[in-house]
């Protein structure tokens, strides 16, 4: 590969050479780790496939999916779908030791695959599995990893630009991994849009064998206790979300939020300070460190709109903000605003929706 043209500007940081070391110049293509757990692919993998496709097209390279799992119909189905969602190639490792997620065999398989096939970019979902795995793989490979990216792009020099909230979600920063490969990033579920699958697509398969026996693996899964689905807040995937913030003043006022959510058949949530105060459990939090949502309608009541909240709701089709402070940040990214007290507007809105939709609120 040709050396960098001399007229390129040096990187903004002293001592950081822009020129990629020789050993990394053969690293090429974009990879997405396909998170297959207990027979199901986590939707974040397809969301990343959509994003990976854009990056690969900009770079003029292939998009690959990495599928690790036991030899099973579900694994084969996951491979097929990986092409449907945009991959040109699948790197596959099938082994009984990969049936349940465990750090050791997954780190081994993914690290070996990277060292063998040398991708320039690798994306993983920022789930409990993806974060556990990405942290190990990046450290083993001694490369850079950007957590919870909210925007991915490639710059003029074909380097991955990963943007994420920083300083506790008060500002955004753009991070590059200049001298190491692969450039790794995780992205939370729902941050990227779900692409339309193309069921006619297919691609190449590259097989890999796990160089590990069950006897070599220290950690054993004794049991898996599935969550009771009834208590699950399906916030991330809800079409309508109503959320409250500190503007509601006392925890009891959250019944106004839940009532409006019930009237609309939607889910309810809250901002980070509400969880920090212990008013609602963490699984109701909306924002960078909570749920990212992409509803058709999002109503935010008494929420100021800090950056860490903004990045979790920007995918909504319509954001309606209610806040007494006309200078609240939320009005900078809401589509509609009401400068008024949420305690007045929420019940008025619930009543008005009931009248309009000709239906009484569900008993709750």
């Amino acid at each position: 590969m040709a050396a960098q043209p001399p007229n390129k500007k040096p990187a903004g940081r002293a001592g950081m050479k822009k020129e990629l070391p020789e050993k990394f110049r053969s690293y090429k293509h974009v990879w997405v780790f396909v998170e297959l757990e207990r027979g199901k692919v986590h939707p974040v993998s397809w969301e990343l496939m959509g994003e990976g496709r854009k990056l690969a097209d900009k770079l003029g390279v292939d998009l690959a999916g990495v599928v690790l799992g036991p030899k099973s119909d579900e694994t084969r189905q996951a491979i097929k779908e990986t092409y449907h969602y945009g991959a040109d190639v699948c790197y596959i490792c099938e082994d009984p030791a990969l049936a349940d997620y465990r750090n050791e065999p997954y780190t081994r398989a993914l690290t070996d695959l990277v060292n063998t096939h040398q991708p320039e970019i690798m994306l993983l979902g920022a789930t409990t599995l993806g974060r556990d795995l990405a942290g190990s793989v990046a450290t083993t490979l001694k490369t850079g990893l950007t957590a919870d990216s909210t925007e991915l792009d490639v710059d003029d020099e074909k380097s991955l630009a990963a943007t994420r909230p920083t300083f506790g979600g008060t500002l955004l920063c753009t991070i590059h991994t200049l001298n190491f490969r692969p450039q790794m990033a995780t992205v939370r579920p729902r941050v990227m849009a779900m692409p339309e699958p193309d069921r006619s697509r297919s691609g190449r398969m590259v097989w890999h064998s796990l160089k590990m026996d069950e006897a070599d693996i220290v950690t054993k899964v004794l049991e898996y206790v599935a969550d009771a689905t009834t208590d699950d807040a399906n916030l991330a995937y809800a079409d309508i979300v109503v959320a409250g913030g500190m503007g509601l003043r006392v925890p009891e006022n959250f019944r106004l939020v839940t009532r409006l959510a019930d009237v609309l058949g939607g889910e309810y949530g809250c901002s980070r300070p509400v969880v920090q105060k212990g008013w609602l459990p963490a699984d109701r939090q909306i924002g960078q460190t909570g749920n990212t949502i992409r509803p058709r309608l999002y109503i935010a009541a008494g929420i100021s709109g800090a950056i860490q909240h903004r990045v979790g709701v920007e995918g909504a089709d319509l954001i309606v903000a209610i806040n007494t402070d006309p200078a609240a940040k939320i009005f900078e990214f809401a589509h509609m605003g009401v400068v008024a007290d949420a305690l007045t507007v929420l019940p008025a809105l619930a009543d008005a929706f009931e009248r309009r939709l000709g239906r009484r609120a569900m008993a709750s």
Partner: protein
Amino acid sequence: MDAPETPTDGLNIVVCIKQVPDSAQIRVHPVTNTIMRQGVPTIINPYDLFALEEAMRLRDQYGGQVTVLCMGPPMAEDALRRALGLGADKAVLITDRRFAGSDTLATSFALATALTRLGADHPVDIVFTGKQTIDGDTAQVGPGIASRLELNQLTYVSAIDTLDQGKGEIVVRRRAEGGVQVLKSKLPCLITMLEGSNEIRRGSVADMLRAARAELTVWSAEEAGVEDVMMCGLRGSPTVVKRVFAPSARDEQAEMVTVEGKQPAQIGDAIIDLIFAAQPKLEADLSAALN
């Protein structure tokens, strides 16, 4: 400075903690987009308190000692003293200008190096961390330490079911997507503790007095055992922050509903009119779904 004495029996546990600004009080300068740190109180990263409490429970049950380890500026001593006041036995601060600007890879390098020195006489059995910090929110340093030291990695742990010191076996509950894994693993291991998994104790008066007077172990990079300082700080960090910024407002301004002179019911209707005007399909879909 010498390493703190390690226990001859019982568990040798190290809890990695971070001193962070109290997030509720961070303000961004409206013009320069820089963090206004002045006067912002610092706290122990709240997630780390669950790790510290779990470590102390194991110590109380099985014997041994809990050392808190922190990388940070000299003022991070406050966080370590607070941890001692809550009941930790020993505290080690690794502080060096050359650690400045560390990303998660360089941070795990420095902490893993110090952990190696701490385990020189009596190996460390369990390293605890919080699941993530509230300022960086990456959750990468714990796995980074585990990889570097080849510790069995147990993240997002909500409970430790059993610990068999003789066999060196541990059974934990780990939060996975959509369920909980019950995992059996071996010491030495690294555990990142999930929030809400326990309640941090109030420190005893005796512990608080001890904390105020305690002599902390303070190590520079070399004293912590770092041989190659190029692995530390900005130079040891593969990631580069190219730009820090506040997002700009959306190009189109929010459409504001006027409330002056309106009854609540009229405000409700006005908002709904706007919502359905912007999303015409929503009204039909909502009616269909709800009736």
